[in-house]
């Protein structure tokens, strides 16, 4: 059986902490241990921050929806918006060795997301665009 939970909020960084708090609660509901729940909430923070910055250019009148879907196999979190879409092909993961040598700044969010989650994907359905984060449930992450 699938279980859904949706949260809708303004595209304002003031709501980041609430978004991460809700994510931790949902992760616990899905049976993830505290360490994994905190890691997943960080991935959501990064995805929401990227949406506010790149999809909406900090326009606080816009909306973001988080949709949590829990199945027997996995937790899926969709970060939805109707701003500027991002496609998988536009995502370039930095070479971290070069990154650190050059003391570069920015672009770390996507690295965190991909290193924490089992999968990160971008897509669109009509005018709604999403970043989809998936973490498999199971013994590795369980309490």
């Amino acid at each position: 059986m699938k279980q859904f939970f949706n949260v809708d909020f303004a595209a304002d960084t003031i709501f980041l902490k609430l978004a991460t708090d809700v994510t931790i609660s949902m992760c616990r509901l899905a049976g993830f241990n505290d360490t994994t729940a905190k890691d997943i909430s960080l991935a959501v923070d990064e995805a929401v921050t990227n949406t506010i910055k790149h999809a909406y250019h900090f326009d606080k009148t816009k909306r973001i929806t988080l949709q949590f879907t829990i199945t027997e196999a996995e937790l899926t979190i969709d970060i939805r918006h109707n701003g500027i879409p991002i496609s998988d092909t536009e995502i370039h993961l930095p070479d971290m060795e070069e990154y650190m040598k050059q003391y570069r700044k920015g672009g770390l969010g996507i690295v965190l997301m991909t290193r924490i989650m089992d999968s990160v994907a971008y897509g669109s359905v009509g005018d709604i665009h999403y970043c989809r984060l998936v973490m498999k449930r199971g013994q590795r992450h369980a309490n």
Partner: protein
Amino acid sequence: MELTITIENKEGTVVIYPDGFINAHTVNQFEETLQNLVKEKQYRLIVNGQKLQYISSAGLGALMGVIEEIRDNDGDIHLCSLSESVFNVFDILGFTELYEIFDEEAPAIRAFDRHNRK
């Protein structure tokens, strides 16, 4: 407040104590603190994370924004007393190779003496 920052001068170093959360909402405060210290030519900085509950990539970006100038001036940023979850963020990104991280504040301060002798 999601983040409060206090600063103390100790034995020729500046110790920064962030209390709360560093994310995209609060990072400007952390960034300004670091930039102001660099403007004042304070190049021996310690971030004591004893009360730091959370850091996102925005906070790591703020550190990256000043580290080059600090190291160009024979200084460094040491980190200490990080919680497991905050340490984990540095570890996931491989930043444990870039910054010296200490369990406690005293050795983080003493480590600057080692820089002196070089």
